[in-house]
């Protein structure tokens, strides 16, 4: 059915289509409408699921894992501080191999309080064992949430998956999208069949003490599953395309990349904005293309190596930062390409805390970068002044103020 809805409401409708049975959730801007809509669908009898109005995100993730361990399909959604508050339980979800799906509406972390978009929240959860996918449109949001359950629940994977969508740009804007009915999805996504469960017929202990003699094996097994997930992700995208006629890429997506000499790499809705920049640059005769990373975990190493080969210059746009180093997609890409080519790779940091990123800015910075005018890391359009800088000098300025009192 074609509907005109916000990104957040589309998530809720996709969760309904996926036949989710338990939804523990805690509200946080800008995710709130996801859980409101789910509560509403259940209340109206349009969705048959148990809604658990937990008292915190830590408890939301704890209840999500516990529900999944009983053998049912479980979903939650969060954002920003909520995701950070869950952090311990993110490790639990992956370590217990519960194939839960969670939508994270990408938002900055305070202080200062800021409810707008960047990717710092999910990037900070990078090493928890979760798979992470970033979407760039409303329709892709719907289709990815549905695919996420199939990928996570595949017995070759059995890991949780985080579907990331950009705050406000996608979460709060209205777009038309096709949302399938549960009956239409059931062939693509049959009922979850757990490998193990909390079942009184077969008592099993979950999460017991594991000594150093076995612990590394449990973690290596998680990495093996991440590796196997790459094939499962591609298979899911292909099968979804066959059944529903829509394909948004698998590990990566790309735009005007075939003959491109220059490549811009990014994730999420920024990649959609970048397509406009690319059209503008192409009109000026610059052979540039977009490489959009969809899956950040597992990281598309082989795809990036293949698609970055033989290019003249690459610019990675990050909407996050690893303090003390650089943007994270940038460092990951450089690691993937290490030793394979001498192509310069540069990093552009933009859009933190919802700062507007225009296609003009992207095109301008990309041109400067491809012409070799930019250093390794460029902070987009920031205008840092004395008022922002924290140095030893600051104490002197405060001292002057104290002395005046």
């Amino acid at each position: 059915m074609k509907v005109l809805e916000t990104g957040n409401h589309l998530v809720a409708l996709a969760v309904r289509a996926a036949g989710v049975e338990v939804v523990p959730a805690y509200p946080i801007t800008p995710q709130t409408q996801v859980v409101e809509k789910i509560a509403d669908l259940i209340d109206q009898g349009k969705m048959d699921a148990e809604y658990i109005p937990v008292e915190s995100e830590h408890s939301a993730c704890a209840a999500l894992i516990a529900a999944s361990l009983t053998g049912v399909r479980a979903f939650s959604a969060t954002s920003s501080h909520g995701l950070a508050y869950m952090h311990e339980m993110l490790h639990f979800a992956a370590g217990l191999r519960t194939p839960v799906v969670m939508v994270n509406v990408n938002r900055s972390l305070g202080p200062g309080w800021n409810i707008w978009c960047d990717h710092q929240d999910s990037i900070s959860a990078r090493d928890t064992g979760w798979m992470q996918v970033y979407v760039s449109s409303h329709q892709e949001t719907v289709d990815t949430v549905i695919q996420a359950f199939r990928i996570a629940e595949d017995h070759d994977v059995m890991l949780p998956i985080m579907v990331n969508l950009d705050a406000f740009v996608i979460s709060h804007t209205y777009m038309d999208a096709i949302v399938p009915e549960p009956e239409e999805v059931s062939e693509f996504l049959p009922r979850y069949r757990p490998l193990w469960a909390l079942d009184t017929r077969l008592p099993v202990t979950h999460g017991s003490v594991v000594y150093p003699s076995e612990f590394s094996e449990t973690r290596q097994s998680m990495q093996q599953s991440q590796t196997r997930a790459i094939g499962v992700i591609k298979e899911a995208a292909t099968r979804f395309g066959e059944l529903f006629g829509r394909h948004h890429g698998d590990m990566v997506d790309y735009y005007r990349l075939d003959d491109a000499e220059y490549v811009i790499v990014s994730m999420g809705s920024l990649a959609a904005e970048t397509m406009i920049s690319i059209d503008a640059m192409r009109e000026k005769g610059i052979k540039v293309g977009l490489l959009r990373v969809r899956f950040f975990r597992p990281f598309p190493v082989a795809e990036l190596q293949e698609l970055c080969r033989g290019r003249k210059s690459i610019l990675v746009i990050d909407r996050n930062y690893s303090y003390g180093l650089a943007g994270v997609l940038y460092t990951e890409l450089k690691a993937a390409l290490y030793g394979l080519s001498d192509t310069p790779v540069r990093n552009l940091i933009v859009g933190l805390g919802g700062r507007d990123v225009s296609n003009e800015l992207i095109a301008e910075k990309a041109m400067e970068s491809f012409e070799g005018k930019l250093g390794e890391i460029t902070w987009g359009d920031t205008q840092i002044t004395k008022a922002h800088v924290v140095t030893r000098e600051l104490l002197e300025r405060f001292q002057e103020l104290y002395n005046k009192k």
Binding site: P24, E50, S56, H58, A66, T70, F92, S208
Partner: protein, 310 residues
């Protein structure tokens, strides 16, 4: 009448655990499992019980068991209960399993209180047992919100300067259908309280005092004796709270009715090494008096009057 000898013979807590000698948790689990039976899903909050059950790939507990993160007893129960309800809609159960959370006082009074409170407020249908050994025992005896005034722990080397909080009363304030306290010196009483909890729908909270031989510094064969003296001295009060009414039970009831004389708190604290430094000092005398008055205050709160023995 139920006696210890007449409790169900089937053991769901199997031999081969790695518990210390005289461990109150292993005895408590045995009795609880006898009351609830096989159709039980167990959630163990991070504590000694996470360890004493044995390590991967072995387990001394013959129930489906999920060892949860420290702060998540209540929330994990909510998730399991919701999962069971979803499965029940598919018609997979003849009888829905009971969900039992087994947590320590650290996981209940301190880090887990929010999660427990949330689950109770949501009227989650489960039994929560707080095995209260009045300290963080798994990390080697640190102070908790349940540690009584004057008690030595590694983080209160001079004795705890504050009173313990009364979490059973906090749970009563949640208006849940059943709250009870129990002692291992009275296993049948504990067993019957577990049975009763299992017959009621909603959140049930049972707190079991768990004297810990190494943590409290007494000999392993004295665990039952210390448990008994806790009740006889009034430092541990046995009661049930059901449908808005509190009913004192067992020895606590007989003390209040004047049928048994209450022991002085000193009888209870002098058999434990954790109070020994305190008792020797002048401040220790004060602490002892303060514990006596804490006992009076607790009974007053429960009954609304100060009992005869004072």
């Amino acid at each position: 009448m139920v006696t210890v000898r007449k409790l169900p013979e089937e053991e769901l807590f199997l031999p081969g655990s790695v518990a210390c000698q005289g461990c109150p948790s292993s005895l408590g689990l045995r009795i609880a499992f006898k009351a609830l039976g096989k159709n039980t899903v167990l959630i163990v909050v991070a504590s000694c019980t996470s360890v004493l059950q044995g390590s991967y790939p072995y387990s001394a507990i013959n129930l489906p068991l999920y060892n949860v993160a420290f702060a998540t007893g209540g929330a994990s129960a909510s998730g399991v209960v919701a999962g069971i309800r979803a499965l029940a809609k598919r018609g997979v159960f003849e009888e829905e399993p009971t969900v039992l959370v087994w947590a320590g006082d650290g996981g209940t009074y301190d880090i887990g209180i929010q999660s427990l409170s949330g689950a109770a407020e949501r009227e989650t249908d489960f039994i929560y047992v707080c095995l209260n050994n009045e300290m963080y025992s798994n990390t080697g005896t640190q102070r908790s919100g349940a540690t009584p005034l004057g008690a030595w722990t590694t983080t209160t080397p001079g004795g705890k300067a504050q009173h313990r909080k009364d979490i059973a009363q906090i749970m009563i304030a949640h208006k849940i259908p059943y709250v009870a306290t129990a002692s291992l010196a009275y296993p049948v009483d504990f067993y019957q309280k577990m049975l009763k909890a299992n017959s009621i729908r909603g959140t049930k909270y049972i707190e079991l005092l768990a004297p810990c031989p190494p943590g409290w510094k007494f000999a392993a064969d004295q665990m039952i004796e210390v448990s008994r003296k806790a009740v006889e001295s009034g430092m541990w009060l046995l009661y049930e709270h059901e449908q808005g009414d509190t009913r004192l039970t067992g020895v606590t009831r007989r003390i209040i009715e004047g049928k048994v004389k209450k022991r002085p708190v000193k009888d209870y604290i002098e058999i434990q090494g954790r109070f020994s430094n305190i008792l020797a000092s002048r401040e220790g005398q004060e602490a002892e008096e303060m514990l006596e008055s804490e006992v009076s205050e607790s009974i007053k709160r429960l009954q609304g009057w100060v009992p005869e023995y004072i």
